[in-house]
């Protein structure tokens, strides 16, 4: 997994590339712990995210809970495989997906 970030003022886009599994999720978790400070608009760009497992969902839920307090969060460019997991777990209805 590779993480790319783009900060414009208080708007942060995090591009997650590759696989968000139990091996890589801790890295993203650690990354967002500090990267979200002062952010009001968070976008996860999943255009190049091929796979997500429950470990990745947990990180998204932590991010969502935090952004509910300090701004908003959305997921963009979600592929079919990842969307299926978001649908199955109800995450698709508790997150903004564009």
């Amino acid at each position: 997994m590779e993480i790319k970030k783009e900060l414009n003022g208080t708007a942060l886009t995090i591009k997650v590339i590759g696989r968000l599994d139990a091996g890589s999720a801790p890295e993203l978790s650690k990354f967002i712990t500090s990267a979200l400070d002062g952010v009001t608009d968070l976008t996860f760009d999943f255009a190049e995210l091929q796979y997500i497992a429950s470990a990745g969902l947990r990180v998204l839920l932590v991010a969502q809970k935090r952004m509910n307090k300090q701004g908003s969060m959305k997921l963009i460019h979600v592929n079919e495989t990842v969307m299926e997991v978001l649908d199955m777990t109800g995450f698709a209805s508790l997150m903004t997906i564009e």
């Binding site: 091996g23 796979y51 199955m88 777990t89 109800g90």
Partner: protein, 135 residues
């Protein structure tokens, strides 16, 4: 039937999913089912790696077998860790909003939703989890 036994650690996850992917490909498993199975395998293996032998470590055995008419794959995970029946875990309430949702409990839920049959038994001090998926 083909099987692999290895230390149940997150670092070995890819070895397990690669092992399965190779067998599934050889049996012409469609891509969608393969990806769902990869998720199933990860969730179970990671559970074993995280909890079965905690705070120590131990081995897990993973078996892959196939059936014809109808075509199906049979996956079996065996570990010698503490007794744990994942099927007894209550499903998460997926209608709750983010604040009410708990972190966790999603893995086994995803497993149950991506296989056609799943059963657990505790035999000879081992946890045996069997799953079947038609493809």
């Amino acid at each position: 039937m083909e099987k692999i036994t290895l230390a149940a650690t997150i670092d070995n996850l890819q070895q397990v999913t690669d092992f399965a992917a190779e067998k599934l490909e050889a049996h012409d498993c469609p891509l969608k089912a393969s990806m769902q199975l990869e998720l199933v395998i990860e969730e179970i293996f990671v559970n074993i790696a995280s909890y079965a032998y905690e705070p120590s470590t131990g081995d897990a055995t993973f078996c892959v077998d196939f059936e014809e008419n109808p075509t199906a794959v049979l996956l079996t995970f065996i570990d010698g860790g503490k007794p744990y029946n994942p099927l007894e875990k209550t499903d998460p309430d997926i209608s709750l909003d983010a604040e009410e949702r708990e972190i966790g409990g999603l893995g086994i839920f995803l497993v149950k939703n991506n296989v056609d049959e799943i059963s657990y038994e505790r035999t000879d001090d081992k946890n045996i989890l069997r799953m079947k998926k038609l493809f």
